[in-house]
Amino acid sequence: MGRRENKLGILGWLKLRGYTIEKLMYVAQRISGVGITIFLLAHILNVGLVYAITGELWEPPGIIGKTVLVILGIIVVFHTFNGVRLVLAEYGFTVGKPRRAVYPYEMTSLSGWQRLTVYLVLIVFIIILYFWIMVALNLLGW
């Protein structure tokens, strides 16, 4: 008699329906982290090789390059602010004190200070996104 392995695998990361916003922020933090790493390695190689071959400092090329940098800016801002929120939560500053579990249960890690920092991150992100898009449209020449 065998058992059927029932692991969701990486699709388990994408199962967001029915869970809280913190799970979405976790997925976004991972994806943005990987995206920034790919850019980082390409950027180091790019600037270094261009300087080694031509002796000139690299400049963001044309409209495609500038668009990539605009998107990168958005991703970096999200990753940074969410990262600060995660450090505060993971060292126990915003998750709240243990309390008696009395029905209907209120999970302090999903409410109170921690949830406030989630909203702060989203609000600040949207504000900076607005200004960044204005600056970016300016740089792109629109």
Partner: protein
């Protein structure tokens, strides 16, 4: 190195990137602040940025890979590969900084 040390360093380098990265972006993109690139502190801060961002990125990749490919020895293999990749990029970047700012 214990796991808790590795993660504390991850958060500390994150904070360092926040500061030195902001200096990098401002000094390179806003013409009014271009003078920062001529100061002594700029290459030092860029050296710190290079080390911090490579540690943060490689440790982040290590955490993701260790979760996707768990195994008794896979942790060591993943760590070694990422340390090597990080070291290569660090040496490359450091050489660039020394040539650009040190006049080598």
């Amino acid at each position: 190195m214990k796991e808790s040390t590795k993660m504390l360093l991850h958060y500390i380098t994150g904070f360092l990137i926040l500061i030195t990265g902001a200096v990098h972006l401002i000094a390179n993109n806003l013409v009014v602040f271009n003078w920062i690139k001529d100061t002594l502190w700029y290459p030092i801060s860029q050296g710190i940025l290079l080390a911090a961002v490579l540690y943060h990125a490689m440790n982040g990749l290590r955490v993701i890979l260790v979760e996707l490919l768990p195994g008794s020895s896979s942790g060591k293999v993943i760590s070694i590969i990422l340390i090597v990749v990080g070291a290569i990029f660090f040496i490359f970047g450091l050489y660039f900084l020394l040539v650009l700012f040190g006049g080598w």
